[in-house]
Subunit: 243 residues, 2 copies
DNA sequence: ACCTGAACACCGTTCAAGT
DNA sequence: ACCTGAACACCGTTCAAGT
């Protein structure tokens, strides 16, 4: 007889199956073993039932994943008014909106970086849960606070979210076992490819490889977010707007 | 002569198994039935062998996918020197570099849009094939031609590619069967969520939903690319540079 | 040496059948 | 009515065994 379900999460005798419980259990497995392990079958097993039972509460895997993301988003948004805004109402000093926007996006990025699989899901199935809507609103508000034109701000929110989600999705699950280079592997493979480029065929690259590969990921993220906001601010949309 | 690989599934008696053949067959299946059908098993079957045989030539599915992408990239770049650069050296008129850069990115986006699964792969495993390197070089060259500072251009290439790849990955495979809303489904679900937002909790959204949802995808892509280039151009990096 | 049949260890989803 | 065992239709990858 196998130990079955070993220690892991406490087992309160009766899980009592519900959408909430399923989402909670999924988050637990995800935190412990990664999203890719949080399969329907695995979650069902952790809940002491068969996979078919889950389909009473969630439509499919994609829906389950997006419920999980929205749940995590809730804690971000719940925590942020204090964290991001500070207690003082403070006539926000110039540019304050920008660093708050940056902090918000960094928080979102943080969630997605921790669970790249979720970022992948979010890319395929745009987050539309209640907390995602709040995030949308918060970002829009901050851009408007910065006097970004409405039409640009409106499209800008999407651009920013798209970028952050994409970059988080990029972080492929580094299989813990085996590979020695680990997280650096992806980057160094690119580095190798770029360094190995034929100078004749790729002259610009040959001249500037170091610049292309320079910088810490953190620096690059910071720069990218600023560049995005700057671009959003100054680029006119084809929408006539309210003139 | 030889329309080469014209009507696909010709069966020349002896497939003669090789890396090239495997990639070619994968592209064929992908074009006809979508990347998600181009599994190791399916490709092997089309090649009249067992899946194990493929592992003699490709390390795994991810590697096969990236070989496919690089192959497609080759046709893009092969076609473009004439198209994008023009035969005449021509003191490029102001901004010419920008529209050529845009065209190049649009071409890349086109490939990825046609095969969102590849975009997904490219997000996880950065393209590092020979043609990806050429694309990198070409983009860098165009930015430099536009007098973008080297450090900004160098980071900008990554930002642009990242964005385009991400947005292409977003286009989830719309299962042809069943769902009535089809490709609009994703967007309209977001529209529903945004429209349904509580005006109290999401005041900015309530005031500007229409702006958020306005515009054709094409318009939004065009705008996004311009915003990115603008942002890249004006945003200083923390890298000291050769100043 | 080169290749591969067959197995291993999984998936998501459905549905007829039980309670 | 509510739930689920068992099956369906797949996956990627490995490796012992054949040629």
């Amino acid at each position: 007889m196998a130990p079955s379900a070993a220690s892991r999460r406490e087992r309160p005798a009766k899980p009592a199956l519900s959408r909430e419980w399923i989402v909670a259990e999924t988050i637990g497995i995800m935190r412990d073993e990664g999203l890719e392990k949080a399969t329907m079958r695995r979650v069902a097993q952790a809940l002491d039932t068969g996979p078919a039972s889950l389909y009473v509460y969630v439509a499919n895997t994609a829906e389950l994943h997006s419920a999980v993301l929205d749940e995590l988003l809730g804690t971000l948004l719940g925590a942020s008014p204090d964290t991001l805004h500070g207690a003082a109402p403070s006539e926000s000093s110039a540019g304050e909106w920008q660093s708050r926007l940056e902090a918000l996006l960094r928080g979102y990025a943080g969630i997605l970086f921790e669970h790249p699989g979720l970022a992948r899901s979010a890319l395929l199935l745009r987050p539309t849960g209640p907390n995602a809507v709040l995030l949308y609103d918060r970002m829009l508000g901050l851009l408007l606070e910065g006097d970004v034109a409405v039409d640009r701000a409106a499209w800008g929110v999407d651009l920013l979210l798209q970028y952050v989600t994409g970059i988080a999705a990029e972080h492929s699950t580094p299989r813990a076992d085996g590979s020695p280079a680990d997280s650096a592997a992806g980057m160094s493979e690119l580095a190798n490819a770029l360094h190995g480029a034929d100078p004749e065929a790729a002259p610009h690259l040959a001249a500037h490889v170091d610049a292309v590969l320079s910088g810490e990921p953190e620096q690059r993220l910071t720069w990218a977010l600023r560049a995005l906001v700057a671009g959003i601010t100054v680029t006119p949309t084809p929408i006539t707007g309210e003139a």
